[in-house]
Point group: C2
Chain length 246, copies 2
């Protein structure tokens, strides 16, 4: 870490460089997923594990919302909660994710029970929730900046999955389409906040570390999936086994 202070542009460039090296679109599991290299059970495992991440996002946003000091910030963060939790039953990002697990033939009660979750998924997601709960507001906001890179991965994922898997339809991928407009709006706000509020070398280092941390969360979720279900397929005791759910 340098001890010089970065201009806002240089800070943004450093954040984007972290994404270019560490965002999970570079992970072999992501490539296998969008290239059609996975079987249905492996795609089920991805959707089931990722559900816990999706379901935890509004909880982590709510814990940040509870600490935000101004109307403007709370209004912005409340919009994120609305995006994920919806305005009535069956709406919002978490509900749309369940349409994906439904479409893949997973039992909804089993998915929601989290029983078949990989421990690696659980620990990574909980580390993220904990980070947002404990760290400064600046770091908590910075940890959301992986959204800067998500429109690319979502486009790859949707096109790749629709083209490569006969068990995937537009409807099962309903989660992703709204994210293509929500994520840029979210990340534009967070980036502007970080550019404005990370004013000392220490704050800038904390912001960069928050983004690295978050990249590690997403990356290690794919590590766990790849290890358990793809190569060499060593599902740990108690985790979801394709074709054997109750």
């Amino acid at each position: 870490m340098t001890n010089r202070i970065l201009t806002p542009d240089a800070l943004e460039a450093a954040l984007r460089a972290i994404g270019a090296e560490r965002y999970h679109n570079l992970h072999p599991f992501h490539r296998a997923l969008h290239d059609g290299k996975l079987n249905k059970g492996q795609v089920q495992a991805w959707a089931l594990n990722r559900y816990y991440y999706q379901a935890s996002i509004p909880a982590k946003d709510a814990s940040l919302l509870a600490r935000l000091p101004t109307t403007e910030l709370r209004r912005e963060w409340r919009r994120r909660l609305e995006d994920h939790d919806g305005t009535q039953p069956g709406t919002g990002g978490v509900a749309r994710w369940l349409k994906l697990t439904d479409g893949l033939g997973l039992d909804r009660a089993y998915v929601e029970s989290l029983e078949g979750l990989l421990p690696g998924t659980r620990f990574a997601v909980e580390a993220y929730v904990q980070f947002v709960r404990e760290r400064s507001i600046l770091e908590a906001i910075a940890s959301s900046l992986t959204e800067l890179f998500s429109p690319t991965i979502i486009s790859e994922r949707v096109a790749g999955m629709l083209g490569n898997y006969d068990f995937i339809t537009e409807e099962t991928l309903a989660y992703f389409k709204p994210r293509l407009t929500q994520a840029p709006q979210d990340s534009a706000f967070a980036l502007a906040y970080v550019r404005e509020h990370a004013r000392t070398p220490e704050q800038q280092a904390a912001v960069l570390n928050a983004l690295k941390f978050k990249c590690n969360v997403l990356w290690s979720m794919l590590d766990a999936l790849d290890y358990a279900y793809v190569v060499p397929a060593r599902i740990p005791p108690g985790a979801f086994r394709p074709d054997t759910q109750a």
Copy 2:
């Protein structure tokens, strides 16, 4: 989960059954380690990652100690802190673990910096510390019960590593010998506590889940190592790379 109450003996049998299915002596990485199937870099990666677990144990014990209500319990838990933190510089389990990383040729400052840690290790260890901080005293004590199974794994590990690796000596394995007497003492106390205090079906279910959770922590630490360094060797960005540490 049954809703019947178990006798103390039946509860103990259920705890031992969890170990028989889920303790990390069954993990392929553990088998490879003690069978001499790993190269020095892979053993370094194990020691470096496991260091974070070792160094976090007295911190988790201190957080439990701070919540214990009686002299008897605090005295017992204080002994664990002494075992790990020692009574003066260079003594105790954490210091003995650093003799292992020294003996493997790892730079001590690099090990202690945690820079090369796998994210999966970090998240699993922090989940354990957090569990002990947040859950009931009964669950926190129950989560230490993996010690019931550790004398076996330590014996296998020491014999296997001494026999199979020319870079391992009795001295580098100094960590383990005292654990062969400390662990049974620790687990005998914890087991007696759990047998006595888990009196309702809910408490007994919580105790069994605490031990499963802890087995998941240890198991997923080996998942992360095996995935990153053994098969198919996909070290994530920023983690320790054998032979390239500063």
